[in-house]
Amino acid sequence: MTTRRPRAAIVGALAATFAAGLFALPLLGLVLRAPWREFGRQLLSPAVGDAMRLSLVSSTFAVVVAFVLGLPLAAWLASGSSAVRSVVRILVMLPIVLPPIVGGIALLLAFGRNGVVGSWLRDWFDVSLPFTTPAVCIAAAYMGVPFFVLCAEAGLRNFDRRFVQAAASLGAGPARRFFFVVVPMIAPSLTAGALLCWARALGEFCATQMFAGNLAGRTRTMPLACSVAMENEPDLAVLLGLVLAAVSAGVLLLLRHRVLVRP
């Protein structure tokens, strides 16, 4: 099924190429400049390995939180258009708008040792979150999940409710309807949301640094390692950024055939 595309399509194609170019160009700059001799050594260095592992763990955690908590929230947001929903939607969006460092302060104020929840955690469980790996995960989720929620909500809003009705008429309860009809049918939106959430969590560092600290091996994610390198050897920082980019590109390419490209 093909149709030949006239003028408008050509304009579209030009714009697309131009856009792709704009994204490719800065990256090209990085790639040209990076000290590639160092690449292999850095990729295999234990410090980078630790940071990479932590980055992958925390961003994956963010995706898990997105599905476990963000999806129900998105479903609720999509289920109506009350003023309350607008307010909650804005609340969910604020971590994106807030300068990440303020986001980090917010987390510290909530979950820090003297924070609203933090002091309660300390008194009752003798647990302190800041400067721990869980804190990295929380920061990642806090910064990443909003992207998922908004994407998922859009998918749910586009969803034709009558398929849910059809499933109900076939005896499927709410859970089955949601997981076996809604979720697969809005898979593209969920995938996009999960990707954005994951990527954002992966690239996050300001809030992490504020809330979780920058402790090698424990809370130092790749972007933090990168900022540390920035102080020592700026070229290394670029290289680490590229390592992060390369690894995440690798992960995405691996996932591609399982998740992104649907039959």
Partner: protein, 350 residues
């Protein structure tokens, strides 16, 4: 287990208000003009629309008690529904679409698939089980929808135009298959259709819905014998008029009039079998008391006769032999004269 639907509901400016009892002894055909509320009725029974007034009961269970009352969610009502636009799940293969209801009731995947395959076989789509709905033709999709509804082992069947896109050949078979299934089915079953043949072939009882109200109901024979609205007349292929009769003249709502028997008078339904309508090339002289000029709209074969649809003061359908069509050189768009004996017009008080 009787289904008692005595309720009203609104959708925008449309109101559906029915008082209907459907027992499990036979299949009920719901017929009526577009927008009469047939699909809305099924949706309310299935629990996809809430009622605004009255109640909906199945046996001694209240399915919907109106606002604030009990409401049994659709998935607990055990209905099997064919939707007018099928609503096959686009992400599931045909076999999994059909197996969906069984899976929802906890049947193991393998067993559900096997059962689904048997159903697909019954609707003649065994070889399409692995396709996605987007790869089916319209009629194939409709058959899958039918199989999906029946396979879910429902206790109430709601079929919304289940055979509208099925080809003539398959329809004959599928209608027989469906008829057997419906006859053996233990619960209430409703079939919405616009096809008189489907209605007559599948149902024992017919409910006529117009503008959200039940205007007539009865056995197939009753409906055919005494249609009570122009719609039913068209459905069963009889001419029906409603009007006021007095002194042997029937004034129709649209302004025309007919000479009719003197009795009864007042608001009446007049039925005229198409066979009783005679057509002429030129104005006939003779006994028929109703003679008027008409324009021929269409000529359609019906069995070994031809049905000629004419338009004029009184729109009518005449049934004549193909020979007559040829002899009179009747053609769509042409003119003709209608003669209709007053004694052929049956009047029933409205």
């Amino acid at each position: 287990m009787n289904l008692v639907a005595d309720f009203a509901l609104r959708r925008g400016s449309f109101e559906l208000a029915v008082d209907l009892e459907v027992d499990a002894s036979g299949t009920v055909a719901i017929v009526g003009p577009n927008g009469a509320g047939k699909s809305s009725l099924l949706a309310a029974i299935a629990g996809l629309l809430r009622i605004d007034r009255g109640s909906l009961r199945l046996g001694d269970r209240t399915l919907d008690g109106g606002p604030g009352g009990t409401f049994v969610p659709p998935e607990q009502r055990g209905v099997g529904m064919v939707f007018q636009d099928h609503l096959l799940f686009p992400h599931l293969r045909v076999v999994d679409n059909v197996a969906f209801g069984l899976r929802a009731r906890g049947v193991a995947r393998r067993q559900a698939r096997d059962e689904a395959r048997r159903w697909l076989d019954r609707v003649g789509l065994a070889e399409h089980e692995g396709r996605l709905p987007a790869q089916l033709s319209g009629g194939q999709a409709q058959r899958v929808a039918l199989a999906r509804a029946l396979a879910a082992r429902p206790s109430v069947l709601l079929l919304d135009e289940p055979l509208s896109s099925i080809d003539a050949r398959t329809k004959v078979e599928l209608r027989g298959e469906l008829r057997r299934h419906l006859d053996a089915f233990a619960g209430p079953r409703l079939v919405v259709t616009h096809d008189a043949v489907d209605a007559f072939a599948l149902a024992q009882r017919i409910v006529v819905l117009e503008e959200g109200r039940v205007v007539q109901q009865g056995s197939v024979a009753e409906i055919c014998g005494r249609p009570r609205s122009r719609y039913v007349g068209d459905l069963v292929g009889t001419n029906v008029f409603r009007g006021v009769a007095s002194n042997g003249v029937l004034r129709l709502a649209n302004g025309g009039s007919l000479v009719v028997p003197a009795e009864p008078a007042g608001e009446v339904f007049a039925t005229v079998h198409p066979r009783a309508v005679a057509l002429y090339r030129v104005r006939p002289d003779g006994t028929p008391r109703n003679v008027f000029a008409v324009r021929i709209v269409a000529i359609v074969p019906a069995g070994d006769r031809m049905r000629v649809q004419v338009d004029g003061d009184v729109p009518l359908v005449a049934e004549v032999t193909p020979q007559a069509v040829a002899d009179l050189a009747l053609a769509a768009g042409g003119e003709a004269w209608v003669a209709l004996k007053a004694t052929e017009i049956a009047l029933d008080p409205a």
